[in-house]
Symmetry: C2
Subunit: 439 residues, 2 copies
C-alpha cells in the first residue's frame, strides 16, 4: 500500500485536532483512502503548548519541540514545500495575511494538495488559489471552512450532482446563535449574553467578525461560489450582524411566535444572485427556529429533491478537525480526480435593498392619537401592502408598535420611513428597526 | 469528452424521474461527471404509461414504444447486458424475486455499474451483489435506497471518513411518520390516518411493509452495514411497527411532553451491534420530535464531530430520482475507484430484549386501591428503578396509569409484567404497552 504523507502548518485548536485524529485511527484511514496516511511534520511556533492537549509526539514538530522564531518556522515551511515526499499540507494557521497567502500559493504551485479551515482567506482572496489547484490538478479542500463538522461542501460537490440548487440559507455562525438563544431563552441582554459566550469559549476576545456578520458572510460567499458557480465578491455581499438586536426585539418576535436568528440567505434566479446576511424573525414552525446554541444549520432547496436540512456542530477542535481529515482522505483516495470548485461565472449580485421579503418594522414614537394613520399611510404610499399592525405598547410617553408588511423591498421600506420623517419631524423617537420575516 | 451510456430497467415512479433528469440537464451532468451521460435505452412492459408523466421520447424504449411481453422484456435486458457500449444500468423494477436478483447479478458480472433504489433486495440478499461489485471494480450505487433524497449514503462513505460513527438513529419511514403526525396533530385514530395516507399517495394499497416496520428495517440494515462494516442479517433485526399505536398512547405521550415516532436505532459497542426498529416516545425537545409528515430524518452520532441531523424528503419520484442520478454521476466521474460497501465483518447482533433503555409502561387495570403498590413492587423486584408513576386516569371501572423506568432491559420489564400476572391474575385488563423513551 502506498504512503500519503501529510504536514500540518499551525497546531492550534483545529490543527492539533487533526494531528490527534491522524495519530489515533491510522488503520481506518488507510482502508478508506486506499493509502497509508502518515503525519510526518508539524510546524508551530510553540510546540510544547501545541502538543499539550492531545499528547502529540514532540519529534513530529519541526525543530524537535523547541519554540521557533518566525524565520525558523518559515524555513521549516519552505522545506515542507520543497519535499517531494509530502503530498498534502494542512493549513490551520488562520488569517488573511499576504505572508500566509504566499505560503498557500506556493504549496499549490508545488503540486501539493492543500486542506484548510481558513474561510476568511478563501472568501476574500480564494479565486486565484482555486484556479491554481485546478491547473495543478490537486485538491484544495475546505470542508472545515464552512460550518465545522457539517459535511456541506462534499454534499454539494459529490451528492447534489443529480439536482439543481435553487436556494441556500441557514444559521452559519454558532457564536451569534448562542448569544441570540441566550437572549431568547434566558432573558439576557446583548452585552451579558456576549460575555456569557466569551466565558463559555464560544466567542473570541475580539468577537467582531462573529457579531457583525462577517464570519457568516465568509461562509456564505464560499457556499454561493460552490453551489451556484457564481463569482461573487465577499466585500460586496450585504451583511448585518446581531449587535443591534435588543431585548425588546426578542420580545416583539416572541409575541409574533418568532425567534430572531442571524440568517444567511442566497438564491439564484435568471443569472442573478440574491444574497444577504441579516438578523431575521423566523416563524417558530420553521425548522431553523429550533436550532439553538452554538449549533449550525444549513438549509438547501433543490429543484428536484426539495428542501434539505443539515444540522451539526459548527465549530470545535475535533469537530472541525474531522472535516479536515475527511478532505485528506478524499485527496488521498481520488488523487487527481477531485474538483475543488467549479469554474465560476459572473453573476449579478442583486443589491440587498431590492430583495423582496416581508418585513417587520418596529416604531418608537411619541404617544399620541393619529400616529398609526400617518405611519400606515406613508407605507401604503410606497405601494407596500400591510399584513398586520400590532403589538402596541405604551411606556411613559413612548409608543412602540410594529407593522408587518407583505413582501416588498428594503428600499421601499426605507423610503416610507423617510417620508414619515419629512411629514412629521421628531415623531420617530428612535430609528425604526427593520427585520425581515422568514416563514 | 467520453460518453457514459445508461440504461434504465423499470420506468415507474422512480425510473421515469431518472429519465427526466438525465434528459433535462445533460450539460450540467457532463460538467460534473467529466463525461457525457447519455440515456440510451429504457425497458418497461408498458412504455406509453411509463412515458406519460414526463414526455419521455418513445424511441428510447426497447421495442420502440409498444407494450412488451415479459419474454420480450427479458430479451431486451439480455441485449443491454451484452452491449459493451452500455456502462451503467439503473434497476428501478423493485421487489426481491429470483428473476430480478438474477438480472442484477448478471449486470455486475458483465462489469457494468449498477444503481438501484431497491432497499428490500439489498437488505435481504445484497451481500453477494456487493462482493461481486467489488470484485468487478464497479459501483453498486444505492443512495436512493435509503431515505430517498437524503444523501446519507455518500455522506457516510465520502464525508464521515475522518471520524468514527458510534450511533445511527432516525425516522426512516415517511408513511408511518405521516400517519403518526396525523394522529398527533389532527386527533385521528390509526385506521383513519392510514386511509388518509393512502388517499394522499403516501401509503401503498398494501401498506404492510410501511406499517410493520419492515421498510424501515430494510434501510436500517443497509445503514448498519455501511456505517459499522457489520454483517448483519435483515431477518434477525428486531422490528415492530406502528399498527399497535392507539389514540390513547398518543395522548399519554402528549401529556409527558413526548411525540410517538417510529424510531430506527443502531449502536456499535465492543464488537456488538445494538439495533431495533420500534415506536418510541420522543421528548419534544429532541430534534426528532419536530420531524413531521412524510419527511425523514437521519441522526448520526460520531466520536469526534458529535451529533448530526439530516432532514429531507424520504420518497417521491424526482426526489428519489435525483439520488439515483447522483450515483450515476459518481460512477461516471470516479469510475473504477468507488467503493460501494466496505468489507463486512461479523458482529454480534444483540437480542433486542437486552438493549438498555428507559421505558414507559402503560397499564390498564381494575380500578381499586393497592394496585400501584403491587405493580411498582413487581417492577422493583426486577431491579428496575422507577422514575415516575403518573398520568392516572379513571374510566368507568378501569384505571389507566403509566410507569416510567430508569434505563433497563425489555426482558426485565417483561419479567415484571409476568410477575404481576402471576400474583394477581385478571388484574391487567389489557396487555401493557411498553414503549421506550428517547430523551
Amino acid at each position: 500500500m502506498d504512503y500519503f504523507n501529510v504536514a500540518i502548518l499551525g497546531c492550534g485548536t483545529v490543527g492539533s485536532g487533526v494531528a490527534k485524529i491522524l495519530i489515533d485511527m491510522p488503520e481506518e484511514l488507510a482502508v478508506r483512502a486506499g493509502k497509508k496516511i502518515q503525519l510526518v511534520k508539524i510546524v508551530d511556533l510553540y510546540p510544547k503548548k501545541a502538543a499539550a492537549n492531545y499528547q502529540i509526539p514532540m519529534q513530529l514538530f519541526c525543530g524537535g519541540g523547541k519554540d521557533l522564531l518566525r524565520d525558523e518556522a518559515t524555513r521549516c515551511i519552505d522545506e515542507i514545500i520543497a519535499d517531494p515526499n509530502i503530498h498534502l499540507v494542512v493549513e490551520t494557521i488562520g488569517g488573511t495575511s499576504d505572508y500566509l497567502y504566499g505560503i498557500m500559493h506556493r504549496i499549490l504551485s508545488a503540486g501539493k494538495h492543500l486542506v484548510t479551515a481558513n474561510k476568511a482567506m478563501l472568501a476574500e482572496k480564494g479565486g486565484e488559489l482555486f484556479r491554481l489547484a485546478r491547473q495543478k490538478n490537486v485538491l484544495l479542500g475546505y470542508e472545515a471552512s464552512v460550518c465545522g463538522a457539517i459535511p456541506i461542501i462534499k454534499t454539494i460537490r459529490e451528492s447534489f450532482t443529480g439536482d439543481k440548487i435553487l436556494e441556500i440559507s441557514g444559521i452559519l455562525n454558532g457564536t451569534s446563535n448562542y448569544i441570540l438563544s441566550k437572549m431568547q431563552h434566558e432573558g439576557l441582554d446583548f452585552p451579558t449574553a456576549l460575555k456569557n459566550a466569551q466565558e463559555a469559549g464560544y466567542a473570541e476576545a475580539d468577537p467582531t467578525l462573529d457579531i457583525n456578520g462577517g464570519d457568516a458572510a465568509h461562509k456564505l460567499t464560499i457556499l454561493i461560489r460552490l453551489a451556484f458557480g457564481a463569482n461573487i465578491d465577499y466585500f460586496s455581499l450585504y451583511k448585518e450582524g446581531i449587535d443591534q438586536i435588543s431585548r425588546e426585539d426578542i420580545d416583539f418576535a416572541n409575541e409574533m411566535d418568532c425567534s430572531i436568528k442571524l440568517i444567511c440567505y442566497a438564491r439564484q434566479m435568471d443569472g442573478k444572485i440574491f444574497a444577504a446576511v441579516k438578523p431575521m424573525m423566523v416563524k417558530n414552525d420553521n425548522f431553523l427556529s429550533k436550532v439553538n446554541g452554538a449549533t449550525n444549520c444549513v438549509e438547501v432547496k433543490n429543484l428536484y429533491s426539495g428542501k434539505h436540512y443539515f444540522v451539526g456542530k459548527g465549530a470545535g477542535s475535533l469537530e472541525t478537525a474531522s472535516s479536515v481529515v475527511s478532505d485528506i482522505v478524499f485527496a488521498a483516495k481520488y488523487q487527481g480526480m477531485a474538483i475543488s470548485m467549479p469554474d465560476l461565472k459572473d453573476f449579478e449580485l442583486v443589491e440587498a435593498g431590492s430583495i423582496v421579503l416581508p418585513y417587520n418594522i418596529t416604531f418608537t414614537t411619541e404617544d399620541r392619537p393619529g400616529i398609526t394613520g400617518l405611519v400606515t399611510t406613508a407605507i401604503g404610499a410606497q405601494n407596500i401592502n400591510i399584513d398586520t399592525v400590532s403589538h402596541n405598547r405604551h411606556n411613559k410617553d413612548k409608543a412602540y408598535f410594529s407593522v408587518v408588511t407583505m413582501p416588498c423591498t428594503l428600499n421601499q421600506v426605507k423610503q416610507a420611513i423617510d417620508q414619515i420623517k419629512q411629514k412629521a419631524p421628531g415623531l420617530l423617537l428612535e430609528e425604526p428597526k427593520i427585520i425581515p420575516i422568514l416563514y
